[in-house]
C-alpha cells in the first residue's frame, strides 16, 4: 500500500472529507483548492493519483486534466474526475480528455476508496 494522492476541490469541506478518507486508507495526501495550484503541485510532486473537481474558479478540472495528459513526463499520474454535474456529456468529455475514472457527487465514500485502490494497485503491478 502507500502512494501519493493530490485532492483538488474549491469546497473546503469536501477537501476535508476526501483528505480524511484517503489518509485512513493509507495514502499520503496533499491538497489544493484551485486548478492553477493543482497543476503546479502535480508537476512538482508527481502524485500517483489526483482526485480532481471539475467546477473550479480560474482553471477548471478539464483544463488541468488536458494539461497533465499533454505532458509525457506526467503520463504515470492517474486522474479521477469529481463533478456535481452528472450529465453523460460531461462524463464523456472527461474520459475523452484522458481521465482514468469519473465520479459523480455526492459519492459513496467506500466506493470511491475502492476505485482509488484498484487504480493504484493496477498501476503498481
Amino acid at each position: 500500500m502507500g502512494g501519493e494522492i493530490l485532492v483538488v476541490d474549491d469546497e473546503p469541506n469536501i477537501v476535508l472529507s476526501l483528505e480524511f478518507l484517503m489518509k485512513k486508507a493509507g495514502y499520503n495526501v496533499t491538497t489544493a483548492n484551485n486548478g492553477v495550484d493543482a497543476l503546479s503541485t502535480i508537476k512538482q510532486l508527481r502524485p500517483d493519483l489526483v482526485l480532481l473537481d471539475v467546477m473550479m474558479p480560474r482553471m477548471d478540472g478539464y483544463e488541468v486534466c488536458q494539461a497533465v495528459r499533454g505532458d509525457p513526463e506526467l503520463s504515470s499520474v492517474r486522474i479521477i474526475m469529481l463533478t456535481a454535474r452528472g450529465r453523460d456529456v460531461e462524463r464523456d468529455k472527461g474520459m475523452a480528455l484522458g481521465a482514468d475514472d469519473y465520479v459523480t457527487k455526492p459519492f459513496a465514500t467506500q466506493e470511491l476508496v475502492e476505485k482509488v485502490k484498484s487504480l493504484l494497485d493496477h498501476s503498481s503491478s
Binding site: 473546503p12 469536501i14 472529507s17 478518507l21 480560474r58 456535481a84 455526492p106 465514500t109
Partner: protein, 907 residues
C-alpha cells in the same frame, strides 16, 4: 444683278425639288423599300435642330460675344451621350403606345389624360411662336439682302420692306407644309417623305455653310493663319478670341447649355424627328456620335466668318446676322451668295415644316378632337377628311401666329434671344417626361400643376416683358413690376437679381415646374389608369414590345362595328388592311358578326391612337364598345372595374406581406423560446450543481462517522458541526430557489401595506444582530427623523435588507469591518444604502452579481459561500415595488448597495 423673280424662281424650284424628294421617299416607303431607314438619314433629320438661327444667328452672336454661341451646340452634344439610355427608352415607349407627338406622350404617361395633352399643346403652340417668327424674319431679311445686291444695304434701310416679305413667306410656307405633311392620315403618324426632304435640307445647309466658310478663309483671306493674324491687329476683334469676351456669368453659360440639352430632345419638332419618325432603335447608337459631329462641322467656320465680317465691314454698318450672305457679295460671288441663301432657306423651311406638322398634329389630336368629343359634335361618317382639315387649318394658324409675334415683338429681341425664349418653353416638357419615365409616383395632378406653373412663370418672365420692350405695355412694368410691386418685376422675381433674363426665367420656371410636379405627386392619389400607364412607361424594357394594357373591355360590339369606327378615322382601305394584319398575326379569321374580343379592341384602339392620339382614341373606343352614343361615364365604369381588380391584387399583396411579417415574428418567437429553453437548462444544471455540493459533504461526513467508530470525540464533534452547517446551507438554498421561482412565475402573494421604511429596517437589524456581533464588525445606522412612508410587502423588504447586511458582513474583514445602514427620503423616493469597507467589487462584476448563480470569484478562504441567488431575489423584489437596486464599489475600498422606492403618493 439678282432680280426678284429669279430669286423667287430659284427658291420655288428648290422647294419643288424637296417636294420631289419627299414624294419619291413616300413612294418607296409604300413599296416597302424605305430610303430613310438608316442612321445617316436619321442623324441628318435630327439636324433640323440647326435652323436659320444657326445659319445666320451664330455668326451674329459670335461677332458680338466670341465663343458665346457655343452652349447652344455644347448642350446637344452632352445630351447625345445620354441618348442610348434616355432616348431609347422614350422611343421604345412611343413605339409600344403608338405615340404621335410630345403632347400625346406626356398625356399618355399621365393616365391618357386629355387635360395633360391639351396643356402641353397650348404650351407648345405659344412656345413655338417666337421660333417661327425667327425663321420668318431670317428668310425675309436674307431675301431682302439679296434683292438689294450688289449694294450691301444696312439694317435700317431694309426694315420697312421685309415686314411684308415675311407675310408672303409665312403663307408660302403654310402652303408648302400642307402639301408635305397632310396628304393623308397615317395610323403611325410617320412621314417618310418629310424626313427624307429634311435630311436633304440638312445636307444642303451644311455644305452651303462650309462653302461660305472656305470661301471666306481661303479666298477673302489667304488661309486661317492670315485671317487670325489680321484679326489680332484689330483690338475689338482680337478680344473675341478669348473667353474674356464671354458675356454674362457662368450661370448663363450653364443655363444656355441646359436649355440646349432640353431643346434637342423636347422641342416638339425634335421629338417628332427623334422619336416619332425613328425607324429603328439601333440607329440611336450611331446618331449619338454622328450628330455631335454634324454640330462640330457646322460650327467650324462660325468664328472665322464673324471675324472676317468685323474686319472687312466698318463697325456697325452691316448686321452681323447677315455676314454669311454679305461676305460673298463683297467679292461679287453672286452664285455663292445665292447658294448661301438656299442654305439659309433650307435651315428655315426645315424647321418650319417639321415644327408645324408636329404641332398641328398635337392641336388636332390633343385639343380639337377631345373638344369635339366632349361637345358631342362628332357625327360625320368620314372622319379622316375632317382630321385633315383640322390639321391644315392648324398649320395656317400656327404660321400666322408666328407672323403676328414677329410683327408685335420681333424687333425687341435679337435673333438669338427669340430662339432662347422658345427653348425655355420646350424645357417645360422635360420634367414631366424625364421624371415620368423613371418615377412611377409622378401623377397627373403633379404634371398639370408643374406644366402650368412653369408655363406661367415662363410667360411672365420672358413673353410679357417682350410686349413691354416693344411698347405694347408700359415700360414701368419692367422696372417696377406688376401693380408696382417690386417683387413682381419680371426680370427680378422675388428680388432675385443675379442672372440675365433667360437664366432668371429658366431658374424660376424649372424650380416651379419640378417643385410642383414632385410636390403635388407626393400628395395626390393616382387613379387606376394613371398607375397602369406609369408602370407601362417606367418598366417598358421589362415588357414585350407588344404590351397590352391590363384593361378588361366589356366587349359588346361586333368585329364589323369596330372596323367601322376605325374606318371613320383612317379610311376604309387602311382599316381593312389593319384588320387583315391583325388576323394574320393572331392566326385567326375575323367573322364580322362575331363579338370583338378584347385583343382586337385594344389593337383597334392603338391604330386609332395613331390617328387621333391616345386620349381621344380611348374615349372613342370606349363609347363604341359599350354601344353607347358618347359616354365617358361608360369608360369610367370600365376603369373602375380595372381599379377594383388592381385594388384586389393590392390587397392580396398586402395580405401576403402580412403573412410574411407574421412568419418572421413566429421565427423570432421560436428563437426566443429556444433561448429560454437553453437558459432553463443552464439553470437546472446550475441548481443541480449547487445542491449536490452540500449534499456531497453531508454524505461523505455521515459515512465517515458511520465507518469510524473509534474516532476521537472532538473530531466527531467537528464533523457533526460540518454536517449541520451544510444542512442549513442546503435548506437555505432550496428555499431561495423556490422563492425565486415563485417570484419569477408571479405566483407570490404580495401583502402590500403602508409601512414606515424605518421600522422595516429596524426589524432587519434585529434579525441580523447576532450575525453582525459574531463577525465582530461594527454596524452604524443613520436614519432620518421623519417617517419614510412606502407601500410595500414589509416581510419581503426586510428580506432584502437582511440579505444586503449579511452580504456586507461576509465581505468585511472581521474586526476591522465597518457597516453603515442609511435611510432617507429625497425627490419623492425612499433611499436605503448599505455600505461596507470590505474587499469591494470589480467594475466588470457590479452588474453581473445581480444575475442568478453568479458568484464573485476568489472569495476569501474560510468564508461561507452564498447561493448566488440572494441578490437576484433582492432585485426582483425591489423591481416589483417599482424601485431600482444597484451597487457602487471600488476594489479594496468597499461597496455601497443602494435601492430606491417611490414614496407613498408618488408612484
Amino acid at each position: 444683278m439678282l432680280s426678284g423673280w429669279l430669286m423667287l424662281l430659284i427658291a420655288f424650284a428648290y422647294l419643288g425639288l424637296l417636294f420631289a424628294i419627299a414624294f419619291y421617299a413616300d413612294m418607296r416607303s409604300d413599296a416597302g423599300r424605305s430610303i430613310i431607314s438608316n442612321p445617316y438619314i436619321y442623324t441628318l433629320s435630327i439636324a433640323v435642330y440647326c435652323t436659320a438661327w444657326t445659319f445666320y444667328g451664330s455668326v451674329g452672336r459670335a461677332a458680338g460675344s466670341g465663343v458665346g454661341f457655343l452652349p447652344i451646340y455644347l448642350g446637344p452634344t452632352l445630351m447625345a451621350c445620354l441618348w442610348w439610355f434616355v432616348l431609347r427608352k422614350i422611343v421604345r415607349i412611343s413605339k409600344v403606345h403608338r405615340i404621335t407627338s410630345i403632347a400625346d406622350f406626356i398625356g399618355s404617361r399621365y393616365g391618357k389624360s386629355a387635360l395633360v395633352g391639351g396643356v402641353v399643346t397650348v404650351i407648345a403652340v405659344v412656345g413655338i411662336m417666337p421660333y417661327i417668327s425667327l425663321q420668318l424674319k431670317a428668310i425675309a431679311v436674307s431675301s431682302n439682302v439679296l434683292l438689294t445686291y450688289p449694294q450691301i444695304a444696312d439694317n435700317a434701310a431694309t426694315r420697312a420692306i421685309y415686314a411684308d416679305t415675311a407675310l408672303y413667306v409665312a403663307l408660302a410656307l403654310a402652303a408648302f407644309t400642307i402639301l408635305f405633311g397632310t396628304r393623308h392620315i397615317d395610323t403611325t403618324e410617320r412621314h417618310e417623305g418629310m424626313v427624307a426632304a429634311i435630311a436633304f435640307e440638312s445636307l444642303i445647309k451644311l455644305i452651303a455653310f462650309l462653302t461660305v466658310g472656305l470661301f471666306v478663309v481661303f479666298v477673302l483671306f489667304s488661309g486661317p493663319g492670315d485671317l487670325f493674324a489680321k484679326a489680332a491687329t484689330v483690338p475689338e476683334v482680337a478680344l473675341l478670341f478669348s473667353f474674356d469676351a464671354m458675356p454674362g456669368s457662368y450661370a448663363s453659360w450653364l443655363s444656355l447649355t441646359f436649355l440646349a440639352m432640353m431643346a434637342i430632345m423636347f422641342l416638339p419638332r425634335q421629338f417628332q424627328v427623334l422619336v416619332v419618325e425613328n425607324v429603328n432603335e439601333a440607329h440611336i447608337r450611331k446618331a449619338s456620335w454622328l450628330f455631335p459631329l454634324y454640330l462640330l462641322l457646322i460650327n467650324l467656320f462660325v468664328l472665322p466668318i464673324a471675324i472676317a465680317g468685323l474686319i472687312l465691314f466698318p463697325q456697325g454698318t452691316i448686321d452681323p446676322d447677315t455676314f454669311v450672305l454679305t461676305l460673298p457679295m463683297t467679292e461679287s460671288a453672286e452664285f455663292l451668295a445665292l447658294f448661301a441663301f438656299i442654305g439659309g432657306l433650307s435651315a428655315a423651311t426645315g424647321m418650319v415644316i417639321v415644327a408645324t406638322i408636329a404641332i398641328s398634329t398635337m392641336v388636332c389630336n390633343d385639343l380639337v378632337i377631345p373638344f369635339l368629343l366632349r361637345m358631342r359634335l362628332l357625327h360625320r361618317e368620314d372622319m379622316s377628311g375632317l382630321l385633315l382639315a383640322i390639321r391644315r387649318g392648324a398649320i395656317i394658324a400656327i404660321l400666322l401666329l408666328g407672323y403676328l409675334y414677329f410683327q408685335l415683338i420681333g424687333e425687341s429681341y435679337a435673333l438669338v434671344t427669340i430662339g432662347l425664349v422658345s427653348f425655355a418653353a420646350a424645357a417645360q416638357f422635360a420634367p414631366p417626361i424625364l421624371i415620368g419615365i423613371y418615377w412611377k409616383g409622378a401623377s397627373r395632378a403633379g404634371a398639370v400643376a408643374g406644366l402650368l406653373g412653369g408655363f406661367l412663370v415662363w410667360a411672365y418672365t420672358l413673353v410679357i416683358p417682350g410686349f413691354a420692350l416693344s411698347g405694347w405695355l408700359p415700360q414701368t412694368f419692367l422696372e417696377e413690376g406688376l401693380f408696382g410691386w417690386s417683387w413682381l418685376r419680371p426680370y427680378q422675381l422675388l428680388g432675385l437679381d443675379l442672372f440675365d433674363p433667360i437664366t432668371h426665367a429658366v431658374f424660376w420656371s424649372m424650380l416651379v415646374n419640378v417643385g410642383l410636379l414632385v410636390g403635388v405627386s407626393l400628395f395626390a392619389n393616382q387613379s387606376a389608369i394613371e398607375r397602369i400607364q406609369a408602370t407601362l412607361f417606367v418598366d417598358v424594357f421589362r415588357q414585350g414590345s407588344q404590351t397590352r394594357d391590363s384593361r378588361i373591355w366589356e366587349s359588346t360590339s361586333s368585329v364589323a362595328e369596330i372596323r367601322e369606327i376605325l374606318a371613320r378615322f383612317i379610311g376604309v382601305e387602311q382599316a381593312a388592311k389593319a384588320f387583315e394584319e391583325f388576323a394574320l398575326a393572331e392566326g385567326q379569321s375575323l367573322n364580322d358578326e362575331a363579338p370583338a374580343e378584347s385583343g382586337l379592341v385594344e389593337y383597334a384602339e392603338r391604330q386609332l391612337a395613331g390617328a387621333i392620339g391616345a386620349a381621344s382614341a380611348r374615349v372613342m373606343m370606349g363609347t363604341v364598345v359599350k354601344g353607347e352614343e358618347l359616354s365617358i361615364e361608360g369608360v369610367m365604369k370600365i376603369l373602375d372595374e380595372t381599379s377594383q381588380v388592381l385594388e384586389y391584387s393590392r390587397q392580396l399583396e398586402q395580405k401576403s406581406q402580412e403573412l410574411e411579417a407574421a412568419t418572421g415574428k413566429l421565427k423570432a418567437a421560436n428563437e426566443r423560446l429556444k433561448e429560454l429553453d437553453r437558459l432553463k437548462d443552464d439553470f437546472v444544471s446550475t441548481v443541480s450543481h449547487e445542491l449536490r455540493t452540500p449534499l456531497t459533504s453531508i454524505r461523505a461526513f455521515s459515512e465517515i462517522l458511520r465507518d469510524s467508530p473509534e474516532m476521537p470525540a472532538t473530531q466527531r464533534q467537528e464533523f457533526l458541526d460540518i454536517i449541520v452547517k451544510e444542512n442549513e446551507r442546503l435548506t437555505r438554498l432550496i428555499n431561495e430557489v423556490l422563492d425565486l421561482a415563485k417570484i419569477e412565475s408571479d405566483s407570490v402573494e404580495w401583502e402590500m401595506q403602508s409601512t414606515d421604511l424605518r421600522e422595516a429596517i429596524e426589524e432587519a437589524l434585529v434579525a441580523t444582530q447576532q450575525l453582525v456581533a459574531e463577525s465582530g464588525t461594527a454596524l452604524h445606522k443613520d436614519m432620518t427623523n421623519q417617517a419614510v412612508q412606502v407601500t410595500v410587502d414589509k416581510d419581503r423588504l426586510i428580506q432584502v435588507v437582511i440579505n444586503l447586511i449579511s452580504n456586507a458582513v461576509k465581505f468585511c474583514d472581521g474586526e476591522r469591518g465597518r457597516i453603515r445602514v442609511r435611510v432617507y427620503a429625497r425627490n419623492g423616493m425612499a433611499n436605503v444604502e448599505v455600505s461596507d469597507n470590505g474587499c469591494g467589487i470589480a467594475a466588470g462584476e457590479q452588474e453581473r452579481i445581480f444575475e442568478k448563480f453568479h458568484q464573485v470569484s476568489d472569495v476569501q478562504e474560510g468564508k461561507p459561500r452564498g447561493s448566488g441567488l440572494g441578490l437576484p431575489i433582492c432585485r426582483k423584489i425591489v423591481e416589483h415595488h417599482a424601485g431600482r437596486i444597484w451597487v457602487e464599489s471600488e476594489l479594496e475600498k468597499g461597496s455601497i448597495f443602494k435601492f430606491v422606492l417611490p414614496l407613498e403618493g408618488q408612484a
